[in-house]
Every structure is written in structure tokens, then in C-alpha cells.
């Protein structure tokens, strides 16, 4: 932040350059501290709104929003999509949408403050960047499909449902870990 404050140029390009300038990335916080802070955020979400957190629901509404733009008739004929859109209903008119926008912003600001905005691709040492992109897309596809099948992702089911002791959310959480561990050995080249 200091290097931005010290410039008086006021030029937008200069600001952007500084914003993304490569700075020494700070280390991550201790996981227990991060977890405790996350727990407080989750509690505040429940305390203020009665709802927990969510992510995949917001993405789902984005998808349905575009489907509704492109093929409104199809949305009107598909019961699952109709529950979110169709007719005059705006799929983006739901609390989970501002939560997702906030998540993006919060991640960005934290990355900026901590010098972690570098454009890069996180991957294991044995695969190429392009292979990693492909795997990220495929894994994302599984994740998106499974999250909707399970009616929630790690945020909405595991964290939110886990904290309020939902039986289904705990079963779901163990299933996620089971699925990951069951496959981990076979895809070890991706990460090690």
C-alpha cells in the first residue's frame, strides 16, 4: 500500500501498475487462526441472517441467468431451472449472489494487501501448465455437478450445515473426503 500512497502521479495506469506490482508475498496465517476467523464469519452470517454461507448456489444462479437470456422457453420447461428463473423471476435476486460477489472482492483485497495477486497457475511439478488448466476444468466440472447434486458445496453444506449439526451435511462432508482420498493415489502425478 505504501508505494501507492507515495506516488503523486494520479495517473490511472500508474495506479494499476502499482496495484499488481510484484511484491514479496506475505506468508499465510496459521490455519487454526484462519479457521477461527472463518468460524466467526460463519457465526455472524447465521446470527445476522439466519442463513449460512454459499458459493455454488451463486454460480448456479449465474448459469441459469445466462440460460434464461439465451433460451427462456427451455428454462420455462425445465422444472429444476424453473425453481430459480422463468417467467418474471430474476435468478440473480437471491442472497447468495451478493455473498459470491463479496467473496470475489474479499479474496481480491486480501490478495492485494498481502502481495499475492501475481498471475500464475498453481500446479504440481510434473505436469505442464496446459495440462493443469485442463485438469482444473475437468475437476471443476465434477465439482460443479456434485455440488448441485448434493444441494450445496463445501461452503453451504460442509461448513454451514456442519456447524448447525445437520446429519446430511456431516454425511456429505465425510463423502467428500472419502472421494478425494480414494482417488488421490491414482492421480498423485498431478500434485507431487
Amino acid at each position: 500500500m505504501s508505494n501507492i500512497a507515495s506516488t503523486n502521479s494520479g495517473s490511472r495506469a500508474f495506479f494499476m501498475k502499482n496495484l499488481f506490482a510484484h511484491r514479496q508475498a506475505r506468508p499465510y496465517v496459521n490455519p487454526y487462526l484462519g479457521g477461527a476467523l472463518l468460524g466467526v464469519v460463519l457465526f455472524l452470517a447465521f446470527f445476522l441472517t439466519g442463513n449460512g454461507l454459499g458459493a455454488s448456489g451463486g454460480l448456479n444462479r449465474l448459469v441459469v441467468f445466462f440460460e434464461d437470456l439465451v433460451a427462456p422457453g427451455h428454462v420455462n420447461r425445465t422444472p429444476f431451472l424453473l425453481s430459480m428463473a422463468g417467467g418474471d423471476k430474476n435468478p440473480l435476486d437471491n442472497w447468495v449472489v451478493p455473498v459470491v460477489i463479496g467473496t470475489l472482492l474479499g479474496g481480491f483485497i486480501s490478495g492485494w494487501l498481502n502481495g499475492r495477486l501475481k498471475v500464475e497457475t498453481g500446479k504440481g511439478p510434473q505436469i505442464s501448465v496446459r495440462q493443469r488448466w485442463l485438469m482444473a476444468f475437468i475437476g471443476g466440472g465434477f465439482m460443479g455437478y456434485g455440488a448441485r447434486l448434493a444441494r450445496g458445496c463445501t461452503s453451504g453444506q460442509a461448513l454451514s450445515g456442519g456447524a448447525v449439526l445437520s446429519v446430511g451435511s456431516w454425511a456429505f462432508m465425510f463423502a467428500v473426503f472419502a472421494g478425494g482420498y480414494a482417488l488421490a493415489y491414482f492421480v498423485r502425478k498431478l500434485w507431487n
Partner: protein, 408 residues
């Protein structure tokens, strides 16, 4: 006590409400980022026991939030009945979880963390998010082909204390203990597979663990509020409604509402089985008073256009039922004015029933030629046969609270 959850759209308008959600999301994204959740190799290391950050962050968050939620509930700051508990669809949840586990180890993120990776300009986060959008699209296009499975093994709002039939406080304490045990084991695994030295981790974590245990113990000792506790908190305000007869609905209004297709009317009949079998209103459900606190959890899941009517022969038992439901935060509960006896007096023809000569309070004051339950005409009189005049008392209040839906 402040109302829970905050009636935000009334207090701050819709824009303000969405701003609050955005601020919660902001804090969520910020905390995920500082914990290192934008870094896919770090997340994937969880599955090779090298770096158990995922386990530590997730379970610390879950137990901290859990202890705070149930602590706030036990001192009356928060109403657990109005907290959104993701409903249990067991097998779709487990299958979806397994698929997500596969996606996690192949793709290196989950939907929330990929957003944070995207926001910090990680290209794998971008591709993962695109993949997730594509997977969601595929789900939307395919789920209607197997919606029977997707809606199967439904247990509603089903919590671990209900499942194990154990006191909530004990479950909270046990979950904290389980998490601490997993952290202990996790640090051992990290030492073996990741070469990490647990002695270098801050000592403060022991203090944190002890603090968490103490608060969880306190939550267990205080216990969760019973129906009687909950009623005691609101009794003063609600007795006013009872005395002003603001919640006693006339038979005429109930009949009009029964014929209103925009409403779902649930009639809860708390009389004896014998009386119920003699005569009851159409679709009335018979329940014992002592079953109502349990049942209220299910009633909370009814759609927002539901009206609950409690009935007994007169009003006494129905008023007790009303108190239980209101104490358990069930919305839109009313009492049938004068009970079933009054209903019969208004709607039953003299050819169907005979008045009983000796009648005490809360007993059925009519005799029936046969115990036909709701097969009498008076169980659902025809609307057009009556000139209904009444002062409407039912106001449908849109519940906020557990209708949201976690990732919904």
C-alpha cells in the same frame, strides 16, 4: 432481545440487506485467502497428508461457529429453530459428496476457494470456475431425468442430536473433542508425510483448544432452552394477543380460508382419539400436546403460505397447543374460536347431531349417530351455502428464517 433473524429488508431496504450479505461474503473471501485457499497445491496436499491446512481450517471454523451458534442459542440471543439447517437428502448428498471429492483431487479447488483463486489472478482458479459453471449447467440439464433419486431419502431438518437422541450440549462437546483429536492426529501425519515439526507451531493453539473446550462445556451445562423457557421469554407479549382475542379465528373465517386455494391450512386437532374419530374437520391432523414441540420442527418446513389452526373441543387445550407452537417460532398459528363445539354449532344441521345433555368443559357437546370422522357434511361445509360475515384476524406473515437454503 433483538428479533432474530434481523428483519433486514424492512430495516435497511433490499439494497441494505444485499450489502450485508456482500459484507459477509467479503469477510468469507478475505479469510479464505489469508488461509491459503487460493493455492491449489496447498489444498491438494491435504490428500497426501503433507499439509492438512484444509482439515484444520474447516474443522476449526465448524467447531468455532457451532459453539458460538449453540452458545448464543442457550442464552437466548439466537433462535436455533429459525436457523437454516440444510435438509438431509442422504443418498444424493453422499453421491454428490463423492463426486465432489473426485473433483477436488483432480481440480484442486472447491467452488468457494476457486472464486478466491480467480480473484487473486490464479489461472487454474479461472479454469476451475469455468469447469464448475459447466458442471452446474450439465446438472441443470440432466437432473430432471432422475429427479426421483435426487429427491429421495429425504429426512427434512434432521440434526445429529435428534438422530442420536442425545442432548445438544453433549453433541457440541463431543464434536469439539473429535475435532481436537483430528488436529492431534493431523499434526502427527504432517510430521510423518510432510516433514513438518509440530513443535514449531505456536503454543497458543493449546490455549485456543482449551478455551474452545471450556465454552463447549459451558454450553452443555447451560443447555438449550426448552419449550417452557422459550414461552417464558415471550409470554408477556403473547398473552396480550390472547387476551385481546387477536388470534382466535371464527369458524366463518376458517371456512373461508379452507376454500382459499392460495393458502395451505393445517388443522392440528389436540383432542382425544375417541373424539377425533367421532368427528373432525377435514384433513385435521390429530396430535398429542406432548408431541407438539418435536412436531414443530417439521411444521417450520411447511411453505410460507401455510396457516396453522389449533383446535380442541373448546379453546383450552387449543390455546395450550398455540402457546407451544408460538414458543417454538412456528409462524401464522391461530386458534379456532370456540373449538369444534362452536364449529358444529355454526355448521352442523340438526339432522346430523344431537346435543349432549350433560357436558363438562373441553368435552364434545354433541352426539353423533356414527363415528364417521370427517365424513360428515360439517367437516367441510360448502362455502356457497353460507353468508359468511367475520372480522378477519389472519395476517399471513412471510417468515424469514429457515427458508433460505445454504447453497440454494
Amino acid at each position: 432481545m433483538a428479533p432474530f433473524p434481523l428483519p433486514m429488508s424492512e430495516l435497511f431496504t433490499k439494497f441494505g440487506e444485499f450489502s450485508i450479505y456482500a459484507m459477509i461474503g467479503f469477510a468469507f473471501g478475505f479469510v479464505l485467502e489469508i488461509s491459503g485457499f487460493a493455492n491449489s497445491p496447498k489444498l491438494a496436499a491435504q490428500f497426501y497428508f503433507k499439509d492438512l491446512t484444509v482439515l484444520k481450517v474447516m474443522f476449526t471454523a465448524i467447531v468455532v461457529a457451532m459453539v458460538l451458534v449453540f452458545g448464543a442459542s442457550s442464552v437466548g440471543l439466537l433462535d436455533y429453530n429459525l436457523v437454516w439447517v440444510p435438509p438431509t437428502y442422504l443418498w444424493p448428498g453422499i453421491l454428490g459428496g463423492l463426486i465432489m471429492g473426485i473433483g477436488f483431487i483432480i481440480g484442486g479447488f472447491c467452488p468457494g476457494t476457486s472464486l478466491v483463486a480467480l480473484a487473486t489472478r490464479k489461472l487454474d482458479g479461472l479454469f476451475f470456475t469455468l469447469g464448475a459453471l459447466f458442471g452446474i449447467f450439465l446438472f441443470g440439464e440432466s437432473v430432471d431425468a432422475y429427479s426421483i433419486f435426487w429427491n429421495s431419502s429425504y429426512y427434512g431438518r434432521f440434526t445429529i442430536p435428534e438422530w442420536l437422541n442425545v442432548n445438544t450440549g453433549i453433541v457440541v462437546l463431543a464434536v469439539v473433542l473429535m475435532a481436537l483429536f483430528m488436529f492431534w492426529g493431523g499434526e502427527k501425519l504432517e510430521a510423518i508425510f510432510g516433514g513438518k515439526d509440530p513443535r514449531q507451531a505456536p503454543r497458543l493453539r493449546y490455549a485456543g483448544a482449551l478455551g474452545l473446550l471450556l465454552v463447549a462445556g459451558l454450553v452443555a451445562v447451560i443447555g438449550q432452552p426448552t419449550t417452557a423457557d422459550r414461552w417464558a421469554r415471550i409470554a408477556q407479549e403473547k398473552e396480550l394477543l390472547l387476551n385481546a382475542r387477536a388470534v382466535q379465528v371464527s369458524p366463518a373465517e376458517l371456512l373461508a380460508n379452507l376454500h382459499d386455494t392460495k393458502l395451505k391450512v393445517v388443522i392440528l386437532d389436540v383432542r382425544s382419539e375417541a373424539d377425533y374419530n367421532q368427528f373432525h374437520l377435514v384433513d385435521a391432523r390429530r396430535v398429542e400436546l406432548k408431541e407438539l414441540p418435536e412436531m414443530s420442527k417439521k411444521l417450520l418446513l411447511e411453505p410460507a403460505n401455510t396457516i396453522f389452526i389449533t383446535t380442541s373441543n373448546d379453546e383450552g387445550a387449543a390455546t395450550e397447543a398455540w402457546k407451544i407452537l408460538v414458543a417454538e417460532s412456528v409462524p401464522n398459528v391461530y386458534i379456532l374460536e370456540g373449538g369444534v363445539n362452536n364449529w358444529l354449532a355454526v355448521f352442523a344441521g340438526e339432522e346430523d347431531i344431537l346435543p349432549v345433555t350433560v357436558a363438562s368443559a373441553e368435552s364434545l357437546r354433541y352426539d353423533f349417530p356414527a363415528a364417521l370422522g370427517s365424513k360428515f357434511k360439517a367437516a367441510l361445509p360448502k362455502l356457497e351455502e353460507y353468508q359468511l360475515e367475520y372480522v378477519p384476524k389472519i395476517e399471513l406473515k412471510n417468515k424469514r428464517g429457515p427458508g433460505g437454503g445454504g447453497c440454494g
